[in-house]
Each structure stands twice: as structure tokens, then as C-alpha cells.
């Protein structure tokens, strides 16, 4: 049942996604199981982009003319939509960035860097995506501060107790993913945030893989920063969101300099605007913000609880159908995990699985999934990963199972 009481009809949802519909009708129907890398786009998002460019387009914040006013209104309305989507207190706490990666970089550079002194530390977890590792390493470089890594168990469950010990009074930021892009693990972000706050540490939540699957509520989590990517929530490329608390943002120096973020410029002295403008230098991705807002609206209309329930059913079926396949091992078995299914096949390298499935028109991803430290911990070179979106069906899961059985025979 959907949020508003109607049954979830995956056929209807699929009809909203032209690429899914059209490629499914081909001679070899495409089965797209790579939504964790990026989601396909509903027609309504693509139309929002076209409509904006063809009817309301102009640069924002600058012109006195009505087109510019219209475009500015659309852009700021998108910010309000983003606010609602993550349940921030005010739109000014929502900064438009290129992607989740840029969000982390902005925080690492403008917030953390100046606070990283010898004795200070940053706390990450073993399961982080490179986007939530490399920016911190770059910020740490040459500071004498320390990187601490919270371990996980063999199921992919975070060691909360160890987290509580690693975070201390010298922790500048604890940064962790809400949902792991490899294991599907859903971390107890609210609890982790409370623990970190108890020690006086700030918290960044990488919600890149959570936002496609569940309601994000920064007020409930209590985190200081949260990042997500538009392209992973059925929106356009080149746009993402950094949420941060007003009182923190206000004290942060700008990240990039340029037009639209300054109050006054002279060669002697330049002063900056308040938030959010200070963090959006130059002409922003106006259409991207509008498109991401359309995607957020769409997800809310379908209902986040519906999406979560539908994907949970797909994950169950996937487990059930794939478990009997000889040599197949599910990687990541945390209770309540999200619809990201990583696995290995004995004697068959993930990359070969990927190629085989592609020949059967099943798109999955194979490799380290930008999580090399996790692979090292798991002592595997990579996994094959089937990841689900709101448009996937039980039949597609069955096709995956059938194809995998063929592969096992081929390499036997």
C-alpha cells in the first residue's frame, strides 16, 4: 500500500521510465540492475529539464527582467523542495553541489581542514565509499592529525561499541555512510550521531545510497552535515545536495570564489554573502536543481515507504532465488539491509560475471565499487552487485537467477 492508500503498481511505475520501458521491449529485453551506480530517469524529470530550458530559462539572482525572476523563483523553489525532502529547518541549510563527492570535499576543505592539528582526528568506517575517504585524506595531509577507522564484522555490521571508543574529544568529524553501496548495510545513523555529539564531535552522513531507498530526516538524525547525489535519486547529473546546520555554515569560509557569492569586491578587500549563496560561486546548475526537485517530488508522490517496501520484497526474492546457486556467496548480510545485493561466485571473477550477464542484457556492476578498503577487509578482489530501483520487478530477479545458473555451468 502506498502512503496515500493505493497499491504499489510496478507496471505503472515502469511506464514512467521511457528507457526502462523501451529497452525492455527490445529483442533482448534489458534488465537494469545497476541503480546503485545511477538510477534511470522518469519522463517527468526529463520534461522538467526541457520545460525549464524552453520556457523559463535565464540566469538567476541577477537580472531585473521577468525571465530572470522566473528562473530565480524556480531555483529557490527547488531549494525549498530539497529542504522538505531531507526535512531541514530552512532552505538556506541546503547547498546545491555537483554530487555527494563535492559535498564531502566542501566540508573537508571549508570545515575540517583548519581544525586538523596534531592530536586531532577524523573517524570513518571500513565500509566507506572513496568519496567519503579521499577528501578526508586530502584534508589531513600534512596536518599531523589522524585518521581512525571503525571496524565492521563479517556480515558488514558496524561495530558501534568501537565507534564509541574511537570517537573522542579530539574528533573533528565522524563521517559514515547511511547505507553501504556494497553491503547494503543500513547504519544506525541517529545513534552514531548521538554518540559522536556526546564527545563534541561533528557528524557527516553520506546519504548517497540511502536517499534512493528511504526517507531522509536530518531533524531526526540530528547530524551536522549530510550529502546526497541527484543522479542516484532519479534526478539529473551534475547536481547534489549538501545539508548543513545554519550555525555551522555561518562560520565556514567559502569553498570556491566568484560571482553570486560576494557582498562586495575590491582588489583590497572582498566580503562574502551569507548562506547559502556563499557556497554557490558562479552560475549554478540551475536546470539541475529544478530537475532534482522534480525527482524528489516524484519519489514523494510514489511514496518513500512504498519504494522501500517494494525493494525489500525484491531483495527477499533475490536471496531466495540465488541462494541455491552452487558457489554463490552473498556479501553483506546485515539485518535489515537495503536492496543492494553483492555476491561472489566460486571460480568466476566478478568481472566475468558482469560480461556474461551483459551478454544476456542484464546490467549489473562488478568490481570494487569505489570501496577498495572494504574489499581488502573482505579479502576479495571485488564483487558482482545487483542493485534495485523502484522500477525493478520479480521477473527481473528471476532472469538474473537463470543467467547465473548458466554462468556456473559455463565455467564449471
Amino acid at each position: 500500500m502506498s502512503d496515500n492508500g493505493t497499491a504499489y503498481d510496478v507496471a505503472k511505475v515502469r511506464a514512467d521510465f521511457p528507457l526502462i520501458e523501451n529497452l525492455a521491449k527490445g529483442a533482448k529485453p534489458l534488465v537494469y540492475l545497476d541503480s546503485a551506480a545511477s538510477t534511470q530517469k522518469p519522463r517527468i524529470v526529463v520534461e522538467a529539464l526541457s520545460d525549464f530550458y524552453l520556457k523559463d530559462y535565464a540566469n538567476i539572482h541577477r537580472g531585473v527582467h521577468f525571465l530572470s525572476q522566473k528562473a530565480t523563483d524556480a531555483y529557490e523553489k527547488a531549494r525549498e523542495t530539497a529542504r522538505r525532502f531531507v526535512n531541514a529547518r530552512e532552505a538556506a541549510e541546503c547547498i546545491f553541489v555537483r554530487n555527494a563527492t563535492e559535498g564531502v570535499n566542501l566540508v573537508a576543505s571549508s570545515y575540517a581542514k583548519s581544525r586538523l592539528k596534531p592530536g586531532a582526528n577524523i573517524v570513518l568506517t571500513t565500509m566507506e565509499h572513496h568519496a567519503n575517504i579521499v577528501p578526508w585524506q586530502m584534508a589531513l595531509e600534512g596536518t599531523g592529525a589522524e585518521l581512525r577507522v571503525v571496524p565492521i564484522d563479517s556480515r558488514g555490521v558496524l561495530d558501534v561499541e568501537a565507534f564509541g571508543k574511537l570517537v573522542d574529544e579530539n574528533t573533528v568529524i565522524a563521517a559514515f555512510s547511511y547505507v553501504s553501496n556494497v553491503l547494503g548495510t543500513v547504519n544506525p545513523v541517529k545513534k552514531l550521531t548521538a554518540i559522536a555529539h556526546d564527545k563534541g564531535a561533528k557528524v557527516l552522513v553520506d546519504a548517497a545510497q540511502a536517499a534512493p531507498h528511504r526517507k531522509i530526516d536530518v531533524a531526526d538524525i540530528g547530524c551536522d552535515f549530510l550529502v546526497l547525489s541527484g543522479h542516484k535519486i532519479y534526478g539529473p547529473t551534475g547536481i547534489g545536495l549538501l545539508y548543513a546546520k545554519r550555525e555551522i555554515l555561518e562560520k565556514m569560509p567559502p569553498y570556491q570564489g566568484g560571482g553570486d557569492m560576494i557582498l562586495t569586491v575590491s582588489f583590497e578587500k572582498t566580503t562574502y554573502k551569507g548562506i547559502p549563496d556563499r557556497f554557490e560561486a558562479g552560475t549554478p546548475h540551475i536546470a539541475g536543481a529544478v530537475g532534482m526537485a522534480a525527482a524528489m517530488d516524484y519519489m514523494e508522490r510514489i511514496g518513500l515507504a512504498n519504494i522501500e517496501a517494494h525493494e525489500a520484497a525484491l531483495l527477499s526474492r533475490c536471496r531466495e532465488k540465488l541462494a541455491p546457486i552452487p558457489g554463490l556467496k552473498e556479501i553483506g548480510t546485515a539485518p535489515g539491509k537495503a536492496a543492494v545485493f553483492s555476491f561472489t561466485l566460486e571460480g568466476v571473477h566478478p568481472h566475468d560475471i558482469g560480461t556474461f550477464l551483459d551478454a544476456d542484457n542484464i546490467a549489473i556492476r562488478a568490481g570494487h565499487h569505489c570501496a577498495e578498503p572494504l574489499m581488502k577487509f573482505l579479502k576479495i578482489p571485488g564483487t558482482a552487485r545487483a542493485s534495485f530501483g523502484m522500477y525493478n520487478t520479480a521477473e527481473e530477479v528471476d532472469k538474473l537467477a537463470t543467467a547465473l545458473e548458466k554462468i556456473v555451468k559455463f565455467f564449471a
Binding site: H61, G63, V64, S68, Q69, I262, T264, G274
Partner: protein, 147 residues
Amino acid sequence: MNEMEELYREIILDHNKRPRNFHAMEDATHHADGHNPLCGDEIEVFVKVEGGKIADISFQGEGCAISKSSASLMTSALKGKTLDEAKRECGIVVAMLTGKTDSIPDELGDIAALQGVRQFPARIKCATLSWHTLEESLQGGKTASTE
């Protein structure tokens, strides 16, 4: 009246051409700079407070017809008022200009001529600039911005 005549009423054009109290003030007790980064308008407001009253008030700076006439109207209206009265009037005017209230109180007098700006969202900040700057100066601040 077409929309331009509605925005640029006779009173506005008059105050734009012959701004009242348009000068610096040496012995001001309160002073603030106002800045509208959108259009580059810059304004300085000077106030001399004596015995809880605005004994004198003036402004100078660069600005469009709306911001200049708004400042000129403001200084004309507030001279001699008590601080409380002035602050109250700031609130009423800003509420009117930003469309927070529909009614235009009679007490506003000539200032009501600024109401046309409500149809021009891009220009509202021009009209509110001097008022925000005055508020800032009375609070003891140095700069106001309508970004």
C-alpha cells in the same frame, strides 16, 4: 495608470530628483552603511538621537530611483519622531513593501507611494534598503545588506 506610472509615482520621481536630507552628518550619534549586492546600491544613513528622539536624520549614496526616494521619504517622515515610533514605522513600512500585509495604514502618508514596488519582486530590496540600514544603525550595527 500603467504599471510604470504605478511604480514611479510623481512623489517618487520628485524625491528621486530632489532627494531630501541628502548629505552626510558630522555629529551623528548613529550611522550605518547599507548595501544591495544585487544592483550595487550603496547607502549611508546618519542619525542624531537626542533625548530618545531623532533630532536629525540624513543619508547619502548611490542608488536607483526607488532606493533613493525611499531613503528620502524615510528621512522626511522620521525627523522628530521618538525611537520607538521610528522603529515601529520601520516595521510597518517593511511589512508593506514585502507584501507581509495588504493594508496601507493612513499614517504612512507619502511613503504609501512606494507600494507600487510590491508588483516588482526584483525591486523590493531597493525600497527596503534604507529602512533596514536605519534599523541596523539604531541597533548599533555598522552594515546592513539586503542580499
